[in-house]
């Protein structure tokens, strides 16, 4: 799109009441890694720029199934779960054919990343990465293993609550979202500065819900996690 051409789509603004601030001192590493000066507003053309479905042609057939996509000589250990939900915009419209990328720790709370020094076992049959495209109703679905909690250095006896990382693009440059999905009833949520850094009224949107509908009989419990991205306000065309 030519940046100078008027476009009938106007993206909804970022809802600053929904997102954590850059600087949240209880989350220690935010202190030196947060911009200190106010953000500068951009004209409409950039945030409204349509972003194509990058990378879709390179998705593999098992990319959505973390219980099989890195298996070497058996199944990964831990509790199998289904994680599914819809990607919607603020008007409730499905965001179709959009890429959802996830990554997570294994059942023991250990990441395959070289930097993770937690003394819990790696699982030779589990990588912890997946991705898929949403369908015509904006729905995504992953099969995975419930991630474990793990200690981290933020404060004394600090443990990260069970979580799965999500990365989404949506249809616009301005709709990019990276977030984390949590599990209902997790006692560590009250103590987690990353979760608590989110405005109180918005926190519950990060907690998935147990769903018997999403549960696969005889196989795995289901959790539903809907994700709402910034979307288009359709304005009248001249």
């Amino acid at each position: 799109m030519d940046g100078s051409t008027p476009h009938p789509i106007v993206l909804t603004p970022r809802d600053w009441d929904a997102h954590p601030p850059y600087r949240y001192p209880d989350y220690k590493s935010s202190v030196l890694r947060s911009p200190s000066l106010p953000l500068i507003s951009l004209d409409e053309s950039l945030k409204n720029r349509h972003a194509p479905v990058y990378g879709a042609s390179r998705l593999g057939p098992l990319d959505h199934d973390l219980t099989r996509n890195a298996a070497k000589n058996g199944a990964p250990l831990g509790e199998r779960i289904v994680v599914t939900g819809r990607v919607l915009d603020e008007g409730g419209r499905p965001v179709r054919n959009t890429l959802v990328e996830i990554w997570q720790a294994n059942a023991a709370g250990r990441y395959v990343h070289q930097g993770d020094q937690h003394d819990a076992p790696l699982d030779p049959n589990f990588l912890g990465a997946g991705r898929c495209l949403t369908d015509g109703e904006g729905r995504y679905r992953f099969l995975t293993i419930k991630p474990g909690a793990y200690p981290w250095g933020n404060h004394a006896n600090a443990w990260r609550t069970n979580h799965i990382h999500f990365s989404l693009f949506g249809d616009y440059f301005g709709s990019r979202l990276v977030t984390q999905m949590y599990f209902p009833g997790d006692p560590l949520l009250q103590l987690d500065p990353i979760f608590q850094g989110t405005p109180a009224r918005a926190r519950e949107r990060l907690v998935s819900r147990f769903s018997l509908d999403a549960t696969q009989e005889g196989y795995a419990l289901g959790y539903e996690f809907d994700i709402v991205l910034r979307g288009a306000h359709q304005t009248p065309t001249e």
Partner: protein
């Protein structure tokens, strides 16, 4: 029309590499996005962009992820995945700062064209890292395009004394065109970040 509320952002954390940039970090999974924004056969002038992300103590961050998006040499954005096969121009790159001993990121691309009369050649940048609860947007311009900078609507919105933080500097390499673009999260040279 129902009004749903935006899902809050959360940090990418320190252990994103196998999920977001697996090939760069030598994990056995195909990368959907790489540090190559344009293949060498894509039309235009091949360039590389390299730089570091500095935290408020002046330390180079070795667990940041940078994403870049730009127009091709003719000023057009990629519209569909199918365009990429033919042109070699991907339009989008993702790179982590954890595989270089000096915590540099390096992206291969081509010099972007002009997308409109009030827009100088530029690359849009998304910055993410552990400690950052919400991704940040910034932008790369090129030092030689001074005339176009004076007409650029985005630069015009930036206080003059901060504009230099958005300008990539040509590196003095003899055999290739390379630019340095460092990102400072805080301090006297704090990079301009945008509310997109």
């Amino acid at each position: 029309m129902p009004h749903l509320k935006q899902t809050p952002s959360q940090t990418i954390g320190p252990f994103f590499a196998y999920g977001l940039c697996p090939e760069q970090y030598n994990f056995e999974l195909k990368s959907l996005f790489t540090p190559i924004l344009a293949e060498r056969h894509a039309a235009g002038q091949p360039i590389t962009i390299e730089g570091r992300v500095y935290d408020g103590s002046g330390q180079a961050v070795n667990d940041a992820v940078i994403e870049m998006m730009q127009a091709d040499a003719a000023g057009r954005y990629v519209q569909a995945d199918a365009d990429i096969e033919a042109s070699g121009f991907k339009g989008f790159a993702r790179v982590g700062t954890g595989t270089d001993p000096q915590a540099r990121f390096m992206v291969e691309t081509i010099k972007p064209g002009t997308t409109g009369a009030a827009s100088a050649p530029h690359i849009d940048v998304i910055v993410m890292m552990r400690g950052m609860l919400l991704h940040a947007y910034t932008r790369i311009y090129f030092e030689e395009d001074t005339a176009a900078h004076s007409r650029d609507a985005v630069l015009a919105a930036v206080p003059p004394e901060r504009r230099a933080t958005l300008i990539a500097r040509r590196l003095p390499y003899a055999n290739r065109a390379a630019y340095e673009f460092n990102i400072y999260l805080q301090g006297p040279d704090e990079t301009v970040f945008f509310d997109v």
